[in-house]
């Protein structure tokens, strides 16, 4: 019952979705959304609030109809073969809740039964999952009495009742301490090793950087960049020289003074001059000397290695406006 064996776990082409009743600027939730997720990979879908992450996942989980385009999950069309899709996916996090008034055990047994396990198999699977997530003792207690960490682990277990081919995971580690995060990620890793594909939406870019094989960055309802974390970072230059002048009027002079160390376009973001460089120390020392010679007063001068945050600022800024100084609202990257 593995179904068709497609090359990609998820394949979305030109997906559009509008909410006619929403405020004008929020009406278009997805606007030509494309996504390809390789089987057995962890794929991060990142973007600020309102970029369309939730809408995209809800469409792929068959919770929401798309207006135009096509999306296939596990090889099945979400619009026409929803039942087949639902048999192969699991949802973790905000996308689908558990019943707070039931115990963890009762929830897992219920989801198992509704996923077509026999009563005995559902019970067995529930106990197995509780054991695996260290919830064996709290299993019979009501979920409303669970701690945050126990709650997260139960959320994850609820998405795994039928060992899904594709798991949609949202913010799996919010509110967890480092040990708790590690436990959750260990569990996800075991799944991926077993062949499960994971689509991860998260606000923690760091976490995506560490765990995702590939990342798609979403802004204004479409994917603006796609690649491995390393590729994405390489797109914005290996390292940055960041110059913060005391007076913004000095920016053209700074640009001129540091141009010879730039390995790409010099950009100004939020009053900071960003100079992509190839060699960190040489360019820092050289630029520092050149700026001093030019007599430009600075508030700060640093070398930075790009993080996904910066990739994001640059890409979404570029996607929002063609200006080299993007508007302030495009700067808001998830914390």
């Amino acid at each position: 019952m593995r179904g068709r064996e497609p090359d990609s776990a998820i394949e979305a082409r030109g997906v559009r979705k509008k909410y006619p009743s929403a405020a004008p600027e929020e009406r278009s939730a997805l606007d030509g959304f494309d996504l390809t997720v390789a089987r057995g990979s962890v794929h991060g879908l990142l973007g600020p609030n309102g970029a369309g992450k939730t809408t995209a996942v809800r469409i792929m989980a068959t919770l929401l109809d798309l207006d135009a385009g096509e999306a296939r999950v596990a090889g099945y069309d979400v619009a026409r073969e929803g039942r087949q899709v639902r048999r192969r996916i699991g949802l973790v996090g905000q996308y689908a809740a558990v019943d707070e008034e039931l115990s963890g055990l009762q929830n897992l047994v219920m989801f198992g039964r509704l996923s077509r396990l026999s009563p005995r198999a559902a019970r067995h699977r529930a106990e197995e999952l509780l054991e695996q997530f260290g919830l064996a003792e709290t299993g019979p207690k009501r979920i409303s009495a669970y701690s945050g960490g126990m709650r997260r682990r139960l959320d994850l277990a609820a998405g795994l009742v039928v060992a899904p081919q594709i798991l949609f995971v949202d913010e799996p580690t919010t509110g967890l301490d480092p040990a708790g995060r590690r436990d959750v990620w260990d569990a996800i890793r075991i799944l991926v090793d077993g062949g499960t594909t994971v689509l991860l939406t998260t606000q923690y870019l760091e976490e995506a950087d560490r765990f995702a094989d590939r990342i798609s960055m979403l802004a204004h309802g479409r994917v603006v960049a796609d690649g491995t974390p390393a590729e994405l970072k390489a797109r914005v230059g290996s390292d940055w020289l960041e110059v913060l002048p005391r007076a913004e009027a000095d920016i053209p002079r700074i640009t001129k003074a540091v141009r010879r160390w730039a390995s790409g376009d010099i950009r100004t973001v939020n009053g900071r001059v960003r100079v992509p460089v190839l060699d960190r120390t040489t360019s820092l020392l050289g630029a520092a000397a050149a700026l001093q010679d030019a007599g430009i007063a600075l508030d700060d001068l640093t070398v930075r290695t790009p993080t996904l945050d910066e990739v994001f600022i640059q890409l979404t800024g570029a996607a929002a406006t063609d200006d080299t100084t993007p508007a302030d609202d495009t700067q808001k990257v998830p914390a």
Binding site: R4, T62, L91, A97, D99
Partner: protein, 274 residues
């Protein structure tokens, strides 16, 4: 189903699964009772408390005016009230599931969509059966006695449960439509004038003519009046067309409500995908 699908989805298999899923959802509701027994027991006792209050407040006045026992008059009305109160239970439960994301969980599982509602329906009917048993027991303790044949009594209970089935679909519809608990609270308040503007507790003949027509047209009045008749309990002679045809209306009103609100609920459930 396309030829590419591997599953054997014969209609009989689908039906069997839909029934199994319905039972799973029903069981979930019954488990809720166990997880908060206080709430559920209070819900069962609430109609009894309301009824007791009315007997205490109005029993003397109305009993003296008619020369018959107010308890015998009011009990069938109280049964109808208990069924009508089921609206709030259904509505609140449906709204909570939708707003908390439980409904989305069910919709993401390969289960029967029919079962989500059918399970709720089964559980709520079981709940109302218990509720009815509690009010009937209380009525018997207060001195209420039916004076009719067994089939007539059975018919009266059937009409009461039919009313409950009808308000169930109103509850599902409002619960799915309500975007907040505040909206649910507003409906919970609106339940009271609907209850008072009927022949459940009082003789409609004492009302101004126009109000009386409205009260007698109330589906609650139809069921209460028809049940009184079937139980052989004293009622009041109505004068509007509605009062004269209470038995017919006690069947027609609920059927009409189901015909309106069941398709509306189904459409709203499907529209969650929009």
């Amino acid at each position: 189903m396309t030829s590419r699908t591997v599953t054997h989805d014969r209609p009989i298999d689908r039906l069997r699964r839909a029934l199994a899923d319905t039972w799973t959802i029903t069981l979930r509701e019954l488990q809720h009772w166990r997880s908060r027994p206080g709430v559920i027991v209070f819900n069962w006792l609430f109609p009894v408390l309301t009824m007791g209050m009315f007997i205490g407040l109005l029993g003397g006045a109305i009993g003296a005016a008619t020369g018959s026992s107010y308890v015998d008059f009011v009990m069938p009305g109280a049964f109808a009230m208990a069924m009508f109160f089921g609206l709030e239970a259904t509505m609140t439960a449906v709204c909570t599931d939708a707003s908390k994301g439980i409904t989305d969980r069910f919709r993401s599982l390969p289960m029967s969509g029919f079962a989500v509602v059918a399970g709720r329906c089964t559980a709520d009917m079981i709940n109302s059966l218990v509720s009815l048993a509690v009010v009937v027991t209380a009525g018997l303790l207060f001195g209420w006695r039916p004076d009719a044949s067994a089939p007539a009594i059975a018919a009266a209970f059937a009409l009461l449960l039919l009313l409950r089935f009808a308000v169930l679909w109103i509850g599902v519809f409002i619960g799915l439509k309500a975007t907040s608990q505040e909206a649910v609270a507003a409906v919970q308040i609106a339940v009271w004038p609907l209850l008072f503007l009927s022949g459940v507790f009082i003789d409609t003949a004492t009302m101004p003519r126009w109000l009386r027509a409205i009260a007698e047209a109330n589906p609650l009045s139809a069921t209460a009046t028809a049940a009184r008749d079937l139980f052989g309990n004293p009622g009041f002679a109505g004068e509007s067309w509605f009062a004269e045809n209470a038995a017919l209306l006690a069947v027609a009103w609920p059927i009409l409500l189901v015909l309106v609100f069941l398709p509306l609920s189904a459409a709203t459930y499907r529209h969650l995908r929009r």
